[in-house]
Symmetry: C2
Subunit: 458 residues, 2 copies
């Protein structure tokens, strides 16, 4: 009996094996990511500049490029125990279906009611808000994954939560809205008449169905104008990548437990929260020169920030009220086509990942929507799990790498992040099932136009 055969379908860590600290990959970067800039002064933003918007403890995490490990507070560890560790699954059935010598593993983050990895950071952000004695927090949500996760976290700590949900999603995704309401969040379609910016946009664009940028602006306005409230965000920020390192740390612990050495690590990339978390400890080894891995970011061809964007300072939001971040971006005015992977339709990319990519520590590829749903369907039928469209980008790339192994006969070990389930994405699956899904790739000219609107920063 080979060692191989002793590896179970699902590797679960015991509670005592679960990570007790988050890992901050910035600590091992020789060249640090560029700082956030004040959009008015173009000066780096410090602790005091960020205090009106974010919770104190989270700002410290955001600005700390040196501390490698942060203790996870016990209250958060206890919440993690309710839905973590997530399983590292050996995709035996998919390997068989592909007839590949590759060994495929996926870290499955979808086994919680929010349906994705977003809960890992939501519970941390809610905790620090509660600890600071705040009454509540505000946020925006597009497709609703982040809003759902934050509703669960806020309910757990008895924190008030106000979610601005892009109006078109509010109307078209009533089920996501109801999950948030069941957890006690107030959900307002954006643009609303409750904020200055909302009233202005409604007046200027009567009948608008909203945008993520506008929802962010509304959430920030309410947070900064309400006593005892702060604003929180589910991706892009350094603090989010820090919290999400729990994914990678568990993955590494599970692999180490069975002496498995991955060759390739793959994650889908929108704002970078999942990818940054999944690869963190592996990237750390790579940065320290201890190990080498191929690390691949997968983005939609319709919103290709790493593969076709520029590395420059840009606004994090389309409303241009947030700090400037240096990142791979398509321009904050870039309007992605209606790709069904809502979580990947972000114009920019985490500054940490952008820097690592720019320094050559990872690869990036883009894939088209229809091929992603083909992969999703195959995965669902062989591995049982109906994947989120976002996650399916990583599935597609992992399958392609496994098929290359079939050609070459190499027994590579591939690990990918399965960030979530597709239970609230069935409109997209219906389109695919009906043969009505299309692909869209922005033209060079469109991108050029969008790049022209980037803010001028030296």
């Amino acid at each position: 009996m080979s060692k191989e055969q002793t590896i179970p379908y699902k590797i679960y860590l015991s509670e005592s094996e679960m990570p007790k600290q988050w890992y901050n990959v910035r600590a091992d970067m020789k060249d640090k990511p560029a700082p956030l800039l004040n959009p008015a002064t173009l000066k780096p933003m410090g602790f005091e500049d960020l205090r009106p918007v974010f919770c104190d403890e989270l700002i410290k995490q955001e600005l700390d490029n040196d501390t490698a490990y942060f203790d996870i507070p016990e209250e958060i560890l206890n919440f993690y125990k309710m839905y973590r560790p997530s399983p590292l699954v050996r995709a035996y059935c998919l390997e068989k279906a592909l007839d590949t010598p590759a060994k495929i593993y996926y870290k499955f983050e979808g086994n919680n009611t929010s349906g994705s990895h977003k809960l890992n950071s939501a519970i941390a952000q809610a905790y620090y808000a509660k600890k600071q004695g705040l009454k509540g927090i505000t946020t925006e949500t597009g497709a609703g994954q982040w809003g759902t996760a934050l509703s669960m976290a806020s309910a757990y700590f008895g924190l008030d939560l106000k979610v601005f949900m892009v109006k078109v999603s509010y109307e078209q995704k009533p089920f996501r809205r109801e999950v948030m309401r069941t957890y006690g969040a107030s959900v307002t379609p954006s643009p609303s008449m409750e904020t200055e910016v909302g009233r202005k946009i409604n007046a200027e664009h009567p009948g608008t169905t909203g945008s993520l940028g506008c929802a962010i602006s509304e959430a920030v306005e309410v947070a900064t104008h309400s006593e005892g409230y702060r604003y929180v965000l589910g991706s892009v920020l350094n603090q989010v990548v820090l919290h999400q390192s729990i994914i990678g740390l568990e993955t590494k612990a599970a692999l180490d437990k069975y002496g498995i050495e991955p060759d390739i690590i793959i994650g889908c990339a929108g704002g970078g929260s999942n990818l940054g978390g999944l690869i963190a400890p592996f990237m750390g080894e790579k940065l320290r020169g201890e190990k080498d891995y191929r690390i691949i970011a997968v983005e939609p061809a319709s919103c290709p920030s790493l593969t076709r964007g520029v590395y420059a300072y840009d606004f994090c939001d389309t409303g241009m009220v947030c700090p400037l971040a240096k990142m791979y971006t398509l321009g904050s005015n870039f309007i992605p086509s209606a790709n069904h992977a809502g979580g990947l339709r972000y114009h920019g990319m985490s500054p940490v990942l952008s820097k690592l990519y720019d320094d050559g520590y990872m690869e990036a590829i883009s894939v088209e929507q229809t091929s992603v749903f083909e992969a999703a369907e195959k995965f669902a039928r062989t591995e049982g799990i109906l994947p989120a469209p976002e996650s399916s980008h990583a599935i597609k790339a992992a399958m392609d790498e496994a098929l290359k192994c079939k050609e070459t006969g190499e027994e590579k070990t591939i690990v990918f992040g399965l960030t979530g389930t597709g239970y609230f994405d069935l409109v997209a699956y219906q389109k695919y099932n009906d043969g009505e899904m299309t692909d869209f790739i922005p033209s060079d000219e469109d991108l050029k136009k969008s790049f022209a609107t980037l803010p001028k920063v030296d």
Copy 2:
């Protein structure tokens, strides 16, 4: 440090600890459940009578009242490994929220794409159909949980699947339909024009939105008229209770691993598939006089087959084409009100459970819908999981028992079955969130009328 503190939030069995056999509780019953009767002759149905409808191996399981253990075939064990073992969760947060000395555990069956325990029997039934060399299987589905589970199982074994979905659900639950289609099932709204019975019903009742009884009749007609097809069913039958014993066997193994002795075991009861499976090994001990447990079936007040029904022979379907079963029933003509727990809206109850209940081995209670959703909301906010309305009946009963312990100071150990998630039940949650949910209890007169239509059997 007390022993108590060493119990993790979630108890997972390792692959080697997973049950390798199903347990047949009928083997330990001194008085066996009454046999199925041929509706025309009123004679007990034997192997040959059932062959045109059901798979051979499944008929053997259906009729076998003596074999205590059935080996689970390796192909099924491998599929189980993809989503099992399911966790036995210690509800620490719920206990704290209720401030109860009781210890609450729940066996969570919702962590798979079908969203419920139904997959445990679906994969078994699909396997035996494939093994028999059949081309495909047919079934009906109401709310869609069973149809989804069977789609996943059929895709795994490359079996054709034809699902007749009650027309009103087909139209109102397009997402469930799309999951089934993604797994390759053909889904037909019932009544259809594809069957004789469907055409007849459409002609007699133009514009009808269908019923479960009609869908069953269509599925049986197609199975018996198509070469290489058989019909399968997701609850009520003895074979289903047998397959679902995996729930109880895992629960017992997990409890034994930590030396935990339950006092009360609680499950929701519709057709009886979950309850029968959860309690099987515990009931076995009780029947053999080795242990005693309080075992409680929880049903909706709107469809109270155990608490207000009669123990008599009745049709399993409203179309009256299936065998007669002796069970607690409200009459096959009973039309339950629009309770949102679709999986519990069945007029009858598993003959095995009916017999055990009639012989005094278990209790039954009924609970009202609004109180069930109150419990569901509290559970979601404290334990993180958004529960299915069906499962929430067990939550409600478990919470009530825990609150009784608070009054008496007793440290009872309560185990309940959390059969699934409510991700496809958000129309119901919306009603609850909007304060528009109502309760309905059938009147004694309504029940009396329904009982009058029971078939006459000595």
